[in-house]
């Protein structure tokens, strides 16, 4: 297949899958199979594109001219490849997890869920393969809107309120700041294409360009740079697979991916170094890193803690971009992959704990490791990646980011990275340590009920008979004395935890791709 068409095919496959899900909605197992198969096929094609990119090709496709001078176009380059690989691999894995979770938690409207899930992945791939700022913006906004039904899945008052915060912050930043920056770029540069070395160099004064950079970084609300971060904890009202895929992988990574892409292909590293606001933004990212970690500390709700940890980790990538040197970019790009695998493991674990043991507060998870050793073991591995310790992949991205700060002479920023790891050590490892080594709290009786229909804040909506059947007790995988997450979810957790470790021993692919980004292969 011609490489340009391959791109279109890959982006559209999840959409096809979504409609298959809709068509097959009356047979649950066939429907889930459709999702998994589509996910597998999509990943296979992404691998095909990877092969081309590694050989130095840059597949591209121009779809049509929207407004005179502005095209809807795709172009695959190494940074986009990183994001696409992560998203397309984790989609089937998360779908597997979701199958276990949604059934175990007796969730309603599962067809709608899987439908929008698939559409969201198409959006993420569209962002990854965008060939110019306009196309990226189109898919970026598309992603916001198609994840809205997922975030507000439970349709409760709280879901509605959170949905408002979600849309409110994401659209205010994208329309109010990012779009202005994009149009401004168009007026200055006459083009919106992504080019190595950027398109803005020499177009106007550094003061104006610095202002535009600020508009971009804050305009990308999905990167959750403070103070535009509130949507992330608000989105935790969604079912956990949504939090896992979207808010560890698709949505947030689309955000930081955009920041990196703008830094490298719109501004260019050399131009960034001359702008005054670049270092201010680096410190803004640093502030987010620390503040995010500190707030994470204070949260007892596991998903909330993970949400703030994500906010903090995203700013690692923003920091990498704003260091404006090769090591920083490499580190930032690698962190897209490392953080994704690590964080998704953590969220999977959080969801598993909720389904199997009905616990959401960390203080009530003491001793739970005895009945859920695999889950908490995976949590431990995932935490290592976030903290940046071997043998988890996150160690590598942290290494490169640290080297980047040294090269930039910013010892303060290095200290920030170290401090954040230290904080992470506590707020993340607290969970598995207390689960394995502390005695359970006094009133753990209700943990072992079989039909805890979702508690209020996670949206117990009224139960219609059709969307879930009670196939016995699906909420846990009971084996021996263990009461683990449902089996499909458990498999997913193991896959991502293993991947996290594998990435430590084999970071080559990511490093290779990111080096191509800064090394300057075409475009």
């Amino acid at each position: 297949m011609d490489s340009g068409l391959l791109i279109l095919f890959t982006v559209l496959l999840p959409v096809v899958g979504a409609f298959l899900v809709l068509a097959l909605r009356f047979n649950e197992n066939v429907r889930e199979a459709a999702t998994l198969i589509t996910g597998g096929v999509t990943f296979y094609h992404v691998l095909g594109l990877l092969h081309l990119v590694r050989e130095g090709e840059r597949p591209s496709l121009t779809l049509l001219e929207v407004v005179p001078g502005v095209d809807l176009a795709f172009e695959v380059e190494p940074l986009g490849m990183v994001f696409a690989l992560v998203a397309s691999f984790l989609w089937p894995v998360t779908s597997l997890y979701a199958i276990g979770y949604m059934r175990g938690h007796h969730e309603e409207n599962q067809t709608r869920f899987f439908f929008f899930f698939a559409i969201a992945i198409a959006g993420a791939l569209g962002v990854a393969f965008a060939g110019n700022l306009f196309t990226l913006f189109v898919f970026y906004e598309f992603l916001t809107f198609c994840t809205f039904p997922l975030v507000t899945h439970h349709q409760t008052e709280e879901a509605k309120r959170s949905g408002r915060i979600y849309l409110g912050i994401l659209l205010t930043t994208s329309v109010g700041l990012q779009l202005v920056a994009i149009i401004w770029t168009w007026v200055l540069a006459g083009t919106l294409d992504f080019r190595t070395g950027g398109i803005l160099a020499g177009t106007t004064s550094t003061a104006v360009l610095g202002a535009i950079l600020v508009l971009y970084v804050y305009g990308v609300g999905k990167a959750a740079v403070m103070p535009f971060h509130r949507w992330l904890p608000a989105a935790m009202v969604a079912p956990t697979p949504v939090s896992a895929l979207l808010h560890a992988v698709a949505v947030v990574k689309a955000g930081v991916f955009t920041v990196l892409k703008v830094a490298v292909y719109v501004f260019g590293i050399d131009l960034l170094q001359t702008l005054a606001t670049t270092s201010w933004l680096a410190w803004a990212a640093a502030a987010t890193i620390i503040l995010g970690s500190l707030v994470a500390f204070s949260k007892d709700n596991l998903k909330a803690r993970l949400a703030y940890s994500t906010i903090s980790q995203l700013s690692y990538i923003v920091l990498g971009a704003m260091l404006a040197n090769e090591l920083g970019i490499i580190g930032g790009g690698m962190h897209i992959a490392m953080h994704a695998f690590g964080k998704i493991t953590l969220f999977f674990a959080a969801g598993a704990i909720m389904v199997a043991a009905h616990e959401k507060e960390i203080s009530r998870m003491h001793g739970l490791g005895r009945t859920m050793p695999i889950t908490f073991g995976a949590f431990f591995v995932g935490s290592l990646s976030i903290i940046g310790l071997p043998p988890a992949g996150g160690a590598w991205s942290k290494w490169f980011l640290g080297m980047g700060t040294l090269e930039a002479g910013q010892f303060g920023l290095l200290a920030v990275l170290m401090l954040s790891s230290l904080l992470g050590l506590y707020y993340l490892l607290e969970v598995p340590v207390k689960a394995f080594f502390f005695p359970p709290p006094a009133d753990d009786g209700h943990r072992h009920d079989d039909h805890g229909h979702g508690e209020e804040d996670y949206g117990g909506s009224t139960h219609a008979a059709d969307d879930h059947a009670h196939h016995g007790d699906e909420s846990a995988f009971v084996i021996g004395g263990l009461r683990e997450a449902p089996l499909p979810s458990l498999i997913a957790i193991c896959v991502t935890a293993t991947a996290t470790v594998v990435l430590f021993f084999w970071p080559d692919l990511w490093q290779e791709l990111m080096t191509m980004v800064v090394g300057g292969g075409a475009p």
Binding site: V66, P68, V138, E141, G168, V175, W184
Partner: protein, 491 residues
């Protein structure tokens, strides 16, 4: 026939109007109205294509040459606006059959269709005429028939709304006549081309700025530019749904065209913008319109009224673009004429579907409608996305040009206002979305989806909003060419 097409564009519907009244039965009148609309669509499309190929068309009515006789002068802007009117008419008329059957008494329906055809004729006439007094005549034809159509609404407040519109509209038209008279007494001609040539010679006389002022006030009143918009919310809210859908997409657009015609073609850019500083008047009013009217829209409980205030804000966008006086700005204004007609037409038609099924357009009555009327509410959401300015919709294209026009002049604050307006649109659209999709349906009343005859026209406009947002090159080219020719003025 094709030589006389400009005249036939007007004459055929004009002759069909009394026929619609005479046939006396609702179905037959509707058929006559449909014939008029389709003819208008064909003729206006043919004229646009001819203008695109050959340039300005000048047609002397009755063979009397200008400036002695009345002539029709069709340039790109005229043809484009005429096409918009005809397209909306052609889509509204199948919609009207079902909607009007529900909302207007059957014995009055033939009169409704007569008024509809007359309104269409009037609007088309304004677009293509080259004589300023002719403008007044057609303006009054379209306005009077509009007043009658509005008065046919079900709620008794339709009557007071029509009356208020009548008073204000007639005042505006009279102001326009005063302006025309003052221009006539100084130049001795009513022909637009002739006026453009003669006005610069007499421009120093105090009379001409006074004429300019009267015309400005009169036209902005017809346009519903803040603060002369007071007639619009009531008129749109209480008129029958099909009327609102038709009028919202045409009447004010044609008035914007009038603004362009008078201030760019007749008075000329130099006089209007440099001597009379029109931009200093229009821009602040437009900015206030965008902000204040969007804000008011957020607090409305009646969705039609919400959309009406939204329309006033959108008119602010159009006028803002024009007030820049640059190619980009005027292009943005002209583009938004077209784009807004599509978006608002779709939104009001969706509300007509809701009115048809539940008899109300109050927000609280629409709880859970997302499940009961999925296609209708989906149309609302998608057209709403266009209003917000999501990329790949027509709304985005307008904003693209408008912000560019602002940034080109280094007016960041104005660009900011445009974005704030979009965000406010998000709030009021989402208000409706939340109630429709998160609310609970009343279990006692079963609500069905709207009939196809209402849904299809609505979805045609929704799809058009996306079509022309995905491929905006055609409309952008026409709008840019029209803007350039307007700014160039007459040779």
């Amino acid at each position: 026939m094709s030589e006389n097409l400009p005249a036939l564009l007007i004459v055929v519907p004009l002759m069909l109007a009394p026929v619609a009244a005479l046939v006396g039965r609702a179905g037959a009148s509707w058929a006559v109205a449909t014939a008029a609309c389709w003819w208008a669509l064909y003729a206006s499309l043919a004229l646009l294509l001819r203008v695109w190929d050959e340039g300005v068309i000048r047609y002397a009515l009755g063979g009397w040459p200008a400036p002695y006789g009345i002539e029709y002068r069709i340039d790109l802007a005229s043809a484009f606006v005429a096409l918009i009117v005809a397209v909306i008419g052609a889509i509204a008329i199948p919609y009207a059959r079902t909607s009007i059957a529900r909302e207007v008494a059957e014995d009055r329906a033939p009169l409704f269709y007569t008024a509809f055809i007359l309104s269409l004729t009037g609007l088309l006439g304004i677009s293509i005429t080259g004589d300023v007094f002719n403008v007044f005549v057609f303006l009054e034809i379209s306005s009077l028939s509009a007043y009658s159509m509005i008065a046919l609404g079900q709620d008794r407040r339709a009557l007071t709304a029509a009356y208020q519109y009548l008073i204000m509209g007639s005042t505006g038209a009279t102001f326009i006549v005063i302006g025309i008279g003052l221009m006539y007494v100084m130049t001795g001609t009513l022909n637009m081309v002739d006026l453009a040539e003669r006005l610069p010679q007499v421009a120093d006389n105090r009379t001409i700025p006074v004429a300019f002022t009267f015309l400005t006030v009169g036209i902005t009143l017809k346009l519903a530019l803040f603060p002369l918009h007071l007639w619009l919310p009531n008129a749109y809210t209480f008129a029958p749904s099909a009327v609102t859908a038709f009028m919202a997409s045409t009447a004010t657009k044609v008035s914007v065209y009038l603004l362009l015609r008078f201030f760019f073609t007749i008075f000329g850019f130099q006089f209007s913008f440099e001597r009379m500083q029109l931009d200093m008047v229009l821009m602040p009013l437009a900015l206030v319109a965008i902000l204040a009217m969007s804000l008011v829209a957020i607090y409305q409980a009646n969705v039609k009224r919400l959309l009406a205030f939204s329309s006033v804000a959108q008119i602010g966008y159009m006028v803002l673009g024009i007030s820049f006086g640059s190619v980009l700005g005027v292009t943005a204004g002209i583009l938004h004429l077209f784009n807004h007609a599509l978006m608002k037409g779709a939104l009001f038609m969706a509300m007509g579907c809701v009115m048809y099924r539940i008899g109300s357009v109050r927000i609280e009555k629409m709880a859970g409608l997302g499940k009961a009327m999925p296609w209708t509410m989906a149309a609302f959401v998608l057209a709403g996305l266009s209003l917000i300015g999501v990329p790949l919709t027509v709304g985005f294209v307008s904003k693209w040009y408008l912000v560019q026009a602002a940034l080109e002049r280094d007016q960041w604050a104005v660009a900011g206002v445009v974005m704030v307006g979009s965000l406010m649109a998000l709030v009021y659209i989402w208000k409706v979305v939340e109630v429709a999709y998160f609310g609970e349906l009343d279990p006692d009343h079963e609500i069905q989806e709207a009939p196809l005859s209402l849904l299809v026209p609505t979805w045609v406009l929704v799809i058009a909003s996306f079509w022309f947002g995905i491929d905006a090159t055609g409309t952008a080219e026409v709008a840019t060419a029209a803007a350039e020719s307007l700014l160039r003025g007459l040779p």
